[in-house]
Symmetry: C2
Subunit: 163 residues, 2 copies
Amino acid sequence: MSIESQQEDNKEQVNHEKYMKIALQLAQKACQQDEVPIGALIVYDGKIIGEGYNQRNMQKNPLAHAEIQAIHQASKYIGDWRLEDCQMYITLEPCPMCAGAIVQARIPQVIIGADNPKAGCAGSILNLLQEPHFNHQVEIIRGVLKEESSLVLKNFFKQLRKS
Amino acid sequence: MSIESQQEDNKEQVNHEKYMKIALQLAQKACQQDEVPIGALIVYDGKIIGEGYNQRNMQKNPLAHAEIQAIHQASKYIGDWRLEDCQMYITLEPCPMCAGAIVQARIPQVIIGADNPKAGCAGSILNLLQEPHFNHQVEIIRGVLKEESSLVLKNFFKQLRKS
């Protein structure tokens, strides 16, 4: 690998961590409201155009996942149902609904923090993001701030068991 | 089969057709607005508590599928993210996003009109509604007013090709 392409890779990694940190701050907002702490954001041309955190209990709405809210905001910003030039950052591997929504929105790249071995649909249980039968496949980058993303969930459930 | 249980079955079939007809009327609303005609409704205790039709282009929103709107309305009515005692009627087999949303909402029974061989996630491509790894499985009744449900889509695409 040339020095230039290595520098480019390092720069990309730094960028991924920068945005994942913001997604983790969104997850913390969920935590403060006693929701399972998951955060998501969507970046377009270096700008955050959609963000969300899990609010399922608070909104009493099964659709109120972090990813769905971020997609809703981003498509309002773009003015289209296609989010074709965007990246999405998620602190946890998406559930089937959110993975399906990412495919519907034609998001080309998703960056994931922690894996979700119980319901993850970006490779853990199924891989809806790269299902060859669908008309869109998503590039997946996983394990960005993996430890921090896992820890925020672990701490939440530890606290929940205590109380 | 006893006469009583046969009568019960016939009554259920009549009910399914009654609600599917209403879902088809919702699909027609989509059609009138140049949207792919798909309709959905949710029934609780004999009452329609959520309905929707595809508005993806009009709303410029990848989430604006019939099922998502019906679930949104129904959870507002019930005041909970769990739609545990509801039935959902859909004129077309759900996409991965909508199948995932049905699982998230813990809907116990889904009645489907036409199959979707290109992206259907209730058995055609995948079966997200009955994936044993997830924490909820859905009873599927398919083929209710199948011909009518297919026809409304076929006519839409035929018209689209003409224009």
